[in-house]
């Protein structure tokens, strides 16, 4: 059951990511990124992170991607023309990305036994749900980072307002 979920939504995520890479128009790339994020939300849920699955749908697919689509439509972005980018990117970057992938998957697959298997359902300290455990940690031992985060968001809002003003 869980392997079927993993295969379906894993393939959907990879297909969406490849579609992001191959589409010319930014709006198509944005919509395929939404597909990737929704399938990642299902994978989070299958790993027992219900709160993060909901936050992924609300924050990423809901807020961030709406912002992206809004900016694409505001700037009336057309199809990108394919030009030859920097040569170093093609010579060193693409093989570098492939090398990172090969290295990571080699390490992960060779340590497959030690990494273990997943179990669907409540697995943390049972009886307590995922969301109450997160909130307990967040509001006791991690209270200061949480408050600093709100200052970060405030600074980001001010920065966005200042940067997007008419007369810069």
């Amino acid at each position: 059951m869980q392997i079927a979920l993993f295969i379906i939504f894993g393939l959907l995520a990879v297909a969406g990511a490849l579609n992001l890479l191959f589409q010319r128009h930014p709006i198509n790339s944005a919509l395929s990124l939404i597909v990737v994020m929704m399938s990642l939300a299902v994978l989070y849920w299958s790993l027992g992170a219900e709160f993060l699955a909901a936050a992924q749908v609300i924050v990423y697919s809901g807020a961030i991607m709406v912002l992206f689509v809004f900016v694409i439509m505001l700037l009336n972005a057309g199809e990108e023309e394919r030009t030859h980018g920097s040569r170093i990117a093609y010579i060193a970057g693409i093989p570098g990305a492939a090398a990172i992938f090969c290295l990571l998957s080699f390490v992960f697959l060779s340590e497959k036994k030690q990494l273990g298997m997943t179990q669907l359902g409540g697995y943390l300290t049972s009886a307590v749900s995922n969301i109450s455990e997160i909130s307990h940690t967040l509001f006791t031992s991690l209270l200061l980072p949480f408050e600093v985060t709100s200052i970060l968001i405030l600074v980001a809002i001010l920065g966005a307002v200042v940067l997007a003003r008419k007369e810069l």
Binding site: Q2, I3, G10, V14, A17, L20, L21, P26, A30, L33, V36, M37, L40, S46, L47, A49, F51, L52, A55, V59, Y60, A63, I64, F68, V71, L75, A77, E80, E81, T83, G85, Y90, G93, I94, I100, F101, L104, S105, F108, K112, L115, G116, M117, T118, L124, N130, E133, I134, T137, L138, P145, T149, L152, I153, V155, A156, G159, A160, V161, V162
Partner: protein, 100 residues
């Protein structure tokens, strides 16, 4: 029952596609979207390791990454709008004021 390694390999695939898209794409908005894709791939590894170690801290880390990504998207898109006002283009090849 799925091996954790499969989730990690999926995250590696997504990260590599994001890195490749970052290098190949020429539209500044799409480049920004591939950064978001890489952040999502790293989030998947965090959740997978949190599941493996039966710890909540990995999930809290993902929460903070999401917050920072939201702030980054707001500021970055504002910069893109300001850039478009000045240069009238979204192609990164034509934004070469600092080159030479």
């Amino acid at each position: 029952m799925v091996p954790i390694a499969y989730y990690l390999v999926l995250a590696a695939i997504l990260f590599s596609i994001g890195a490749g898209a970052f290098l190949i794409k020429r539209n500044v908005i799409t480049i920004f979207m591939s950064i978001e894709l890489m952040l999502n791939a790293v989030n998947l590894t965090f959740v997978a390791f949190a599941h493996m170690w039966h710890q909540i801290s990995g999930q809290i880390f993902v929460f903070f990454v999401m917050v920072v990504a939201a702030a980054e998207a707001a500021v970055g898109l504002a910069i893109i709008i300001a850039l478009f006002r000045v240069r009238q283009t979204l192609n990164v090849d034509q934004v070469n004021l600092l080159k030479n």
